[in-house]
Symmetry: C2
Subunit: 788 residues, 2 copies
């Protein structure tokens, strides 16, 4: 080959530049007259061809004298070698090859770079003029051509059907989701840019009313009040609305979930009869007035009071100080009523927090006497939600307005409650709040899915050099760095959904005994999912560059609207500490209950771990089979969760034994607590994801028994397993320092995990389009021009 | 002590609750009559006191019979023990202690929690009624009381004077910064909420004009055109404006830096005379029309053409296709002229990219013939900047409009250039763009500083339980988790500034030979600083919870406006790869030039590293002295930078040797390249930061020789050294997995580094207020109500 190339060296730069064209022209061993004419005519205009060059070109394009086999092979070899050297961003074009060959043949290539660069348009013209160059020609010249073509095909046809993925994600609620989607795609829901909050809020109110008219708001209410009695369908509707507009989602949640939920869960039949149907239809807009400025997360310490006046059978609702005002209340500017949480005082005795329905506006929207409302003003996002502050000045309402399911006032003016323990009563009432922690992360996940769908589609379609004369184009997602940015997030979106689905199932079918556990789980999943949403949307914005910064491409709103999700319904760092404390209580309880047996069991498990997972061989094992095996990564997740919790317990005990107060000890372990809680959530997410993969696999086996298999479902299960493996490997990679410190993996194994993430990203790259289409977000809701 | 407590156990819950009050009442061994009356009267109303309890209370508050020393001690012991058990968020109050004691004495505490909780207001009233309880009493009861008081003091008086820090940060440009600050604090610069982009843009234009009238825009121009000839002062002004409004900052940069910079740097005297003074005064608004839709980062491939017509001595500027339109051009809607970058074609020959001044609007603002302008619409942020798209349809301008410093057309119509090499000419012209990469990260850093100042001040001042009856309050920044969130970012802000200052110095005093190196450094620092800004502002928003979500507290704009900084002036991931390639070239060059000596040197350094840094003792060394020693962390930074670069080189060589094209090999190493570039930047930032610390220390020594030292400057240098140590330790912690994988540190050492970060955060907590005040942002510019 060296000799072949050598024999080309006498050729001038100009002729070198023409070789790819000569090769292409002769590659089917036949040159048409128009082709010859085009080639010679265009070549005549080229400034870099000398008279001598033109003569050679004319000889070599003489149809009567085809080139010798050797010469033809030389042209191919030169071209192919140049193709290998083509710098980044260059694509399969003869023009590019010609430039490269010409430049390389110059005596001082640096000085001639611009000159040759500027010849590109003319050479493109010649390439176009040759017409009908066969794919084979490109394939022969460009070593990566085949692979690229495969990638193009992969976009068009990945190995799975997105509809199949969508079926799995939507589960039993496909019908509800489809119905809500249909409504959101109506012309009346068309998005417009409304920068002034009052305009935007009016639009969101109109949208919310339309959803209410269609019965979507009442889905979780009993049938006799216009509902479907299905909390799960309500959740499905809620997360689907989040594909459209997050202000609408939150307002919808406040009206039907919080206000309606308070009436339904804390009220009795007379309240249901009076308010529920009108609430579901949004004929009665209401708000949930719990939080106070001075008591962000301390519900028990609320200062608003409701004093019972037996003579008039009335409650006097009052805000004792400015700081006791109700803060950040959604729907505050549109509501006619409020469920006000306050200390109930009967006969001078306080019975703790109860909710009272207080009318705040008349039918024409005027604020009633004794009510003060203040707009919260512009926020970072969610400006379509009318948040406000509320104060009550000795406002009198009939005692019937007390939502008295768990505590009321009888005819004689005595406080009565079916729950004796004030503490249990309080926590039972507070159970209505947990719903928010189950639903909000689903809306956050929807936003992340929208962002990922937009960024991945943009990554699959964008051409960096879109000039028409080029045949092939660079797909952004072919860059490993872009794969690294987006694919682990796509995988995590699937895993998080499986975790949230489990939480929802548990929540919907909960018993009272399970509530504490479910509350802790909800606290953890809410934090994990909303942190994920914030990070994923940010990464997508950056991955789409300047295009992603234009409001029309939706990252502006997705980012801004979801940013508060990590704070509301409980600040994530606080929630994670709550979860950790709950886990610790369980952990300690099991020790206390089982006594020495528990200790032996625990030690036994540690010994087993050391033998099976932490032996020197496994710690260093780096083969792909091992790393992709569930036994490795599931064990790693469980090990981390277990170890972080037990070391947390030990640390706390040691501090307290050393004379520290439990408060101080807790402070010192804050970061540790958050990590332990995160590890628990990750273990849950992984376990539940793998269960879902198995369900998909089993369904396939079942249908295999009934009818001839087309192999679809098996492939889907395999793909999902790979997705979850990526989630697992990427998560372990993120905690690599901890695993290394713990001696659970060696440095080599840590590198191998990183490499596995690279490989899985590359392997999932052709499936990326199907994976985001599987989210089932219609183009009309996705909206972003760069994704369409 | 057990016995003492035992002897209390016969007391009823009610009396237990009163013990702290009894202790306080008797703590000065003297009970006034009003105190006795208040205590007895209020106690009479308490529902939890039995008749018997009241009798005991009456006995124990009999002024004639003070308690025995033993009994008094018992009260203290009980109270103190309860104080230690107080849960989170409770503060030093007798009322809280009473509740806790009463509850603890109940048979079934769980059932009574709410009941006791509800006694809090009444007990607070008693506490207030006792009047003038001495600090000593609180100090005796609450073990942490002293420490808390110390922290309070620390906020008021940290060990350094913020003005001293400010002096260091502002350096030689204090006067310019002060002057710009004074202008920005004028009533005319008051911020208002302008949601509609047209309104906002008009306001920004007005502000920009006022700055121009004050000569701020022209700072970098020669004196004869109204300037000060100081690029560094221009930079100082630019970063100060970023404390006010980032749309203004960017528009200011476009008008004076990009448009004015093009005139000044690419034009000749006739252009300077014609445009520069009017540009500096903003009487002539202009824009910098380089980027095209189809060629985001490929300036050489721009498609807009300027064809020379010798007959009329005119240039015909033309956009050949829609995709060749100029994209995202700042100032596009307000400009009267544009510096249009296009391929210059003379006599049918292209001479590469040149800039031509093209009038686009007449004096009354109407678009001229042949010009099409389109608004880019709403963006995620920076909506006060009028970005637009531009197309030219055969627009004729006199040949004099060609900015011809590096290439022009002579009287005979021939292309002439002082730089023969087209390539060198191109890169010289492009040098004007690098300024943006030097200035933009400074604006990003200003935004991060604003966010940090707001979040830290909020963390220092917020009281979680602000009810008036409580004497002490919880400071959010006392939570270790909050310290962890904010203090490493404050430290990094200092380090990044020192790095950026170095870059600016190099840029301002650059020679042509240094340009390549400075360009690479600017690419890296721009990426590092803007990524930092995005992350820091996000963390600050989350750390301030719901308050941080209100637009008035400024995170909304800080986040949205800076989000594009990671993309514009070059996408960060692309820039980092550029830097890596440049580093690799240098690395390879030094090998080639020095030949075997270089190899030996390199191997020698590796051997030295292995002996001095990677020996088993050092790898496991965990004492604080070692970890805080520069020799540890500087070596660690250098090791990482060196190792990542040399392994990058090896990997690339191996791939290429194995038959891969350099394009493919580069793709596979993308992530590695970015990491290598990051390590280089971090090493630079650390080295330059330590140099600055030394400068501060030396100045102190100098002034020591002249006058008696008050110890201030020495403390400042020590504080700065601690700040940089935190930056170093936190950075190493972030790369812990890599250091562990490389065997550079052991698992124990990795844990010790994490612990060191905790300790440094706690130690810097009392300095946090001074550190952010040192940024020198006046309250009037900080603006956020939560920070004031």
């Amino acid at each position: 080959m060296g000799a072949d190339l050598q024999s080309n060296t006498y050729l001038s730069p100009g002729i070198q530049a023409m070789l790819p064209f000569l090769y292409a022209a002769w590659s089917d061993r036949h040159l048409s007259v128009p082709e010859i004419q085009s080639l010679r005519r265009e070549a005549g205009k080229l400034p870099f061809l000398t008279e001598e060059d033109r003569q050679i070109l004319s000889d070599w394009s003489d149809p009567v004298h085809p080139p010798s086999r050797e010469r033809f092979q030389q042209w191919l070899t030169s071209g192919r070698r140049a193709a290998e050297d083509l710098p980044e961003d260059r694509t399969a074009s003869l023009a590019e090859l010609g430039i490269w060959l010409g430049l390389a043949a110059e005596d001082e290539p640096e000085a001639k770079t611009t000159f040759w660069q500027e010849q590109l348009p003319a050479l493109h013209q010649i390439e176009a003029g040759l017409g009908g160059i066969r794919e084979d020609t490109y394939r022969a010249l460009f070593p990566q051509y085949d692979q690229r073509e495969k990638l193009h095909e992969a976009i068009r046809e990945s190995t799975v059907d997105p509809a199949e993925l969508q079926r799995i994600l939507e589960g039993d609620h496909a019908a509800t989701i489809a119905r809500v989607r249909e409504i959101l795609l109506r012309p009346s829901f068309e998005r417009t840019t409304l920068r002034i909050k009052e305009d935007y809020r009016e639009q969101v109110l109109r949208w919310c009313k339309e959803l209410a008219r269609e019965g979507i708001g009442a889905l979780s209410y009993p049938r006799e009040y216009g509902g479907q009695d299905s909390m799960a369908d309500y959740a499905a509707a809620f997360e689907t609305i989040a594909y459209h507009d997050l202000s609408l989602t939150i307002k919808f949640g406040v009206q039907f979930g919080l206000w309606g939920g308070a009436i339904y869960n804390l009220g009795t039949k007379r309240h249901h009869d009076a308010y529920l149907e009108a609430t579901g239809k949004l004929e009665l807009p209401g708000c949930f007035a719990m939080t106070e400025t001075g008591h962000g997360s301390n519900v028990r310490g609320l200062e608003t009071t409701a004093v019972y006046d037996h003579e008039n059978r009335e409650l006097i609702v009052h805000t004792p100080s400015v700081a006791a005002g109700k803060e950040y209340i959604g729907n505050a500017m549109h509501s006619r009523m409020a469920a006000v949480f306050c200390q109930l005082i009967v006969n001078g005795e306080s019975h703790g927090v109860h909710a009272v329905v207080v009318p705040i506006r008349d039918e024409s929207g005027h604020t009633l006497a004794g009510i003060r409302v203040e707009d919260n003003g512009y926020k970072l996002g969610l400006n379509g939600v009318d948040n406000g502050r509320l104060w009550f000045d000795q406002v009198r309402v009939p005692v019937d307005n007390l939502l008295d399911k768990y505590g009321g006032i009888d005819e004689e003016g005595r406080y009565v409650s079916p729950i004796e323990s004030a503490s249990r009563r309080f926590f039972t009432m507070l159970g209505t709040l947990v719903g928010g922690r189950v639903f909000v992360p689903r809306a956050g996940l929807s936003a992340a899915k929208s962002a990922l769908a937009i960024a991945v589609r943009y990554g699959l379609r964008r051409r960096q050099f879109p000039s028409e004369s080029m045949r092939s184009e660079t797909i952004i997602l072919d860059y490993p760095n872009q794969q690294r940015r987006l694919l682990p997030l796509v995988a995590k979106a699937y895993a998080v959904q499986f975790g949230l689905d489990h939480l929802l199932d548990r929540y919907v079918s909960r018993t009272e005994e399970e509530m504490r556990e479910i509350e802790a789980m909800a606290a953890g999943m809410k934090s994990y999912a909303t942190w994920f949403a914030t990070a994923a949307i940010q990464e997508c914005r950056e991955a789409t560059g300047g295009k992603g910064y234009l409001a029309e491409n939706r990252f502006a709103d997705l980012k801004a609207d979801t940013d508060i999700f990590t704070t509301f319904e409980g600040d994530n760092t606080v929630l994670m500490q709550l979860l950790a404390k709950s886990l610790l209580t369980e952990f300690n309880k099991s020790f206390q209950e089982d006594g020495n047996i528990a200790v032996l069991k625990y030690l036994g498990r540690r010994v087993t771990t050391i033998v099976t997972e932490q032996n020197p061989y496994v710690v260093r094992q780096t083969d792909r089979e091992h790393l992709e095996n569930r036994s490795f990564y599931v064990s790693a997740f469980h090990f981390r969760a277990r170890r972080l919790l037990s070391t947390l317990g030990s640390r706390l005990r040691a501090y307290i034994k050393g004379g520290m107060s439990s408060y101080q000890a807790g402070l010192l372990c804050q970061t540790h607590m958050i990590k332990a809680a995160e590890a628990y959530v990750e273990q849950l997410v992984l376990d539940e994801s793998l269960k879902r993969v198995e369900m998909v696999r089993e369904q396939q086996h079942l249908s295999d028994g009934l009818e001839p298999s087309d192999g679809t479902a098996a492939t889907t299960a395999d793909l999902l397993e790979k997705v979850i493996t990526l989630y697992a490997a990427h998560t372990i990679e993120g905690h690599a320092a901890w695993y290394l410190e713990s001696g659970y993996i060696s440095g080599q194994k840590s590198k191998a995990v990183r490499k596995l993430v690279d490989i899985l990203c590359a392997e999932l790259r052709p499936e990326a389009g199907a994976l985001v289409d599987g989210f089932g977000i219609p183009d009309g809701l996705l909206g972003a021009p760069i994704a369409l």
